[in-house]
C-alpha cells in the first residue's frame, strides 16, 4: 500500500472543507479523483502534499505518517504534484524548471558550487542530461532553452508534469491536467499519462473534470462531494451510481 489517507479532515475556521476522507492507493495504480466544484479535491491534494495539515486523521506513505512534515520533506519522500493554476518558474528556461526538482539529489555542496569544481561541472552535466531525457520523452527537447512563461498553455501543463517527474516521485498528483485542452489534445494526454505510469513506475492520482479522460484511463475512481467520499469503484460502477449523478446534477424535483 503506497498511500493511505485515514479519516483526514480539515476545517478553516468554522468551514469543514474535508471530512473523514479515506483514500488508498497501491504502487503503480492510476486513480481518478472527481467531484463537483468545491467538493474539496484540490484541498485533498494540498493535504497529501503537505501544504495544509489535517486537523484530524492521518496520511501515510509506505506506512510512515506524513503528518507534521513540511511540504518539501513530503516531496522528497516521493509525493510530487502539479497545480490547477499552473505555477511554473516563469522567467526560468524549461530545462531549468525541470532541474529545480532535482535539487534535493544534488551531489555537490555549496563550496563546490562557489568554486565551480570538477565535481560540480560533472554533476551539472549529468543533471542537464537527465532533464533533456525527460524533454525527449515528451518530444519537447527543442524548447529546452525557452522561457517557460512564454510558452503556450498546453505546453506549460506538460512542463509542469516534467518538472514533477524530475523529482523521481513514487506518487504523482496531477491537478486537472486536461483543463483547457481540446479533444485531440486530451487524447494525447491520456496516452501520455499511461505511458508515464508505465515508464516511470509511478502511481498517479489525478483530479479531473473531463469524464472521457477519467473513464478512459483510470483504474479506479473516487468521488468527492462536500468534502466526503460518496462513492468509490471502477469507472463502470461510478457511471451508473445514483449518488454521483445527484452530486453533479442535483436531485430531480419530484423525487423530493
Amino acid at each position: 500500500m503506497l498511500l493511505q489517507v485515514k479519516q483526514a479532515s480539515i476545517q478553516f475556521g468554522g468551514l469543514k472543507v474535508i471530512e473523514g476522507l479515506d483514500l488508498e492507493l497501491s504502487q503503480g495504480e492510476l486513480v481518478g479523483l472527481i467531484g463537483p466544484n468545491g467538493a474539496g479535491k484540490t484541498t485533498a491534494f494540498n493535504l497529501i502534499s503537505g501544504i495544509y495539515r489535517p486537523t484530524s486523521g492521518d496520511i501515510r506513505l509506505e506506512g510512515e505518517s506524513l503528518l507534521g512534515l513540511k511540504a518539501y520533506e513530503i516531496a522528497r519522500r516521493g509525493v510530487v504534484r502539479t497545480f490547477q493554476n499552473i505555477r511554473l518558474f516563469s522567467t526560468l528556461s524549461v530545462v531549468k524548471n525541470i532541474q529545480v526538482s532535482m535539487h534535493s539529489f544534488c551531489s555537490y555542496g555549496l563550496s563546490s558550487a562557489l568554486f565551480a569544481t570538477g565535481q560540480f561541472r560533472k554533476a551539472e552535466q549529468e543533471s542537464r542530461q537527465e532533464a533533456m531525457r525527460l524533454l525527449e520523452f515528451f518530444s519537447l527537447e527543442h524548447l529546452a532553452e525557452d522561457e517557460a512563461g512564454s510558452l503556450p498553455y498546453g505546453v506549460q501543463r506538460k512542463i509542469e508534469i516534467m518538472r514533477a517527474l524530475a523529482g523521481r516521485p513514487k506518487l504523482l498528483l496531477l491537478d486537472e491536467p486536461a483543463a483547457g485542452l481540446n479533444h485531440s489534445e486530451t487524447v494525447v494526454l491520456m496516452e501520455l499519462i499511461q505511458k508515464i505510469r508505465r515508464e516511470f513506475n509511478v502511481a498517479v492520482l489525478l483530479i479531473e473534470h473531463d469524464m472521457k479522460l477519467v473513464m478512459g484511463i483510470c483504474e479506479r475512481i473516487v468521488v468527492l462531494d462536500h468534502g466526503t467520499v460518496i462513492a468509490q469503484g471502477r469507472p463502470t460502477e461510478i457511471q451508473g451510481n445514483k449518488k454521483v449523478i445527484e452530486a453533479y446534477l442535483g436531485v430531480e424535483e419530484d423525487a423530493i
Partner: protein, 323 residues
C-alpha cells in the same frame, strides 16, 4: 579542481585596474577606485538576496558594519602573521570580517526569512539599525567616536586587494548562480509554494543566500575599514543600505552585470556632481538618488540590465568571441 579560467580573468582584471589606477590616477581618484571596488562587492552580494532570491533586505549596512568592526578590532589588537607572510594579513582580516558578517547574517536571517515581503524588509531594516545603535553605545568599539588609526595598505597593493575580492565576489556568486543552488534561489523568487512542492527547503535556501550575501558584505566592511583607517557608526546608517539598494535597482535586480555597473555609476555620480554641489552649496546627492529611485520604479523597474547579463545581450552575442 576548480575552474582556473575564471580566476585568471579575475587576477588579470584586478592587476590591470590597480596598475592603471596607480599609474594614471591621483590619490583622490584612486580613493574613488577603491570605493568602486567595495561597492561592487556590496551590490553583487545584496543582489543575491534581493534580486536572485526575491527577498527584500534593507539591512545590508548592518552586516557591512559588523565586518568592518570585527576586522578593525582584530587588526588593532593582534598581529596575525609576520615576516614573509605578512602580506596575507589584510586578506585574513577580510576573511574574518566576512565571517562576522556571515554569522550575523545567519542570526538575523534564520528568524526573519519566514516573513513575507514588506515585513522582511522592515525587520532587516530594524536589525540593521539595532546593530548600529549597539555599536554606537558600546564603549569597547569607541561608541560614537568610533575607532581610529586602523592599519591599512595604500596604493597599488590596497587597490589590488580590493579588486581581487571584488572579482572573487563576482566570480563565486556567478558560479553559484549557475549551480543547482542558484536554481533553488530563483525558484524561491518565482514561486515559493511551487518550489516547496518540488522538494526545495525554501527557508534553508533563503538563509543560505542571506548568509553568503552577508559574508561578502562583511568583507566589504573590512576593506572599507582598512581603506578609510577610521570607523564610525554614522557610516552605517539606513541611508547606506539604501545606497546599495539603489545600486542594485539601477543596474537591475537579477543581473550580476547590472550590479557591477550600478555600483560603478552610483559611486562615480556624486563625484561628477561635485561642481553642482559647490555651486548650490547643498548636498544634492541624496535628493537626486531618491528621485532616481522613484523614477526608476515607475519608468524602468527592471533597471539597466533587466534580468540579463552581458552575455545575454544581443549585441554581445553577435560581436563577442565565442566561448
Amino acid at each position: 579542481m576548480i575552474s582556473w579560467r575564471g580566476w585568471a580573468i579575475v587576477v588579470t582584471v584586478a592587476l590591470t585596474f590597480s596598475g592603471a589606477g596607480h599609474l594614471f590616477l591621483n590619490a583622490y581618484l584612486q580613493q574613488i577606485l577603491f570605493y568602486i571596488g567595495i561597492n561592487i562587492i556590496l551590490a553583487v552580494s545584496l543582489n543575491l538576496v534581493n534580486g536572485f532570491c526575491g527577498q527584500f533586505s534593507l539591512g545590508h549596512a548592518g552586516f557591512m558594519a559588523i565586518g568592518a568592526y570585527v576586522s578593525a578590532l582584530v587588526s588593532l589588537n593582534f598581529t596575525l602573521l609576520q615576516g614573509p607572510l605578512a602580506f596575507l594579513n589584510f586578506p585574513l582580516f577580510a576573511l574574518l570580517g566576512g565571517l562576522g558578517g556571515a554569522i550575523a547574517g545567519w542570526a538575523v536571517g534564520l528568524p526573519s526569512l519566514r516573513l513575507r515581503g514588506d515585513y522582511l524588509a522592515i525587520v532587516t531594516l530594524g536589525f540593521g539599525e539595532i546593530i548600529r545603535v549597539v555599536l554606537l553605545n558600546l564603549e569597547v568599539v569607541g561608541g560614537a567616536r568610533g575607532l581610529y588609526g586602523i592599519p591599512g595598505d595604500t596604493g597599488f597593493v590596497a587597490c589590488l586587494h580590493i579588486y581581487l575580492w571584488a572579482g572573487a565576489t563576482v566570480l563565486c556568486i556567478w558560479q553559484l548562480l549557475q549551480s543547482s543552488y542558484g536554481r533553488a534561489f530563483l525558484s524561491v523568487r518565482e514561486d515559493e509554494v511551487a518550489a516547496e512542492c518540488m522538494g526545495i527547503n525554501t527557508t534553508r535556501t533563503k538563509v543560505t543566500a542571506f548568509v553568503i550575501s552577508s559574508f561578502f558584505a562583511g568583507v566589504a566592511g573590512s576593506l572599507f575599514a582598512h581603506t578609510t583607517n577610521s570607523l564610525n557608526p554614522a557610516s552605517f546608517q539606513f541611508v547606506k543600505s539604501v545606497d546599495v539598494v539603489i545600486m542594485v535597482v539601477l543596474g537591475g535586480s537579477g543581473s550580476v552585470t547590472g550590479s557591477v555597473v550600478g555600483a560603478i555609476l552610483v559611486t562615480v555620480l556624486p563625484e561628477a556632481l561635485r561642481p553642482l554641489q559647490a555651486w548650490t552649496g547643498v548636498d544634492v546627492r541624496m535628493v537626486i538618488y531618491s528621485l532616481l529611485l522613484i523614477l526608476m520604479m515607475i519608468l524602468r523597474p527592471a533597471g539597466l540590465f533587466g534580468g540579463r547579463e552581458l552575455s545575454q545581450l544581443k549585441w554581445w552575442r553577435r560581436n563577442a568571441p565565442t566561448s
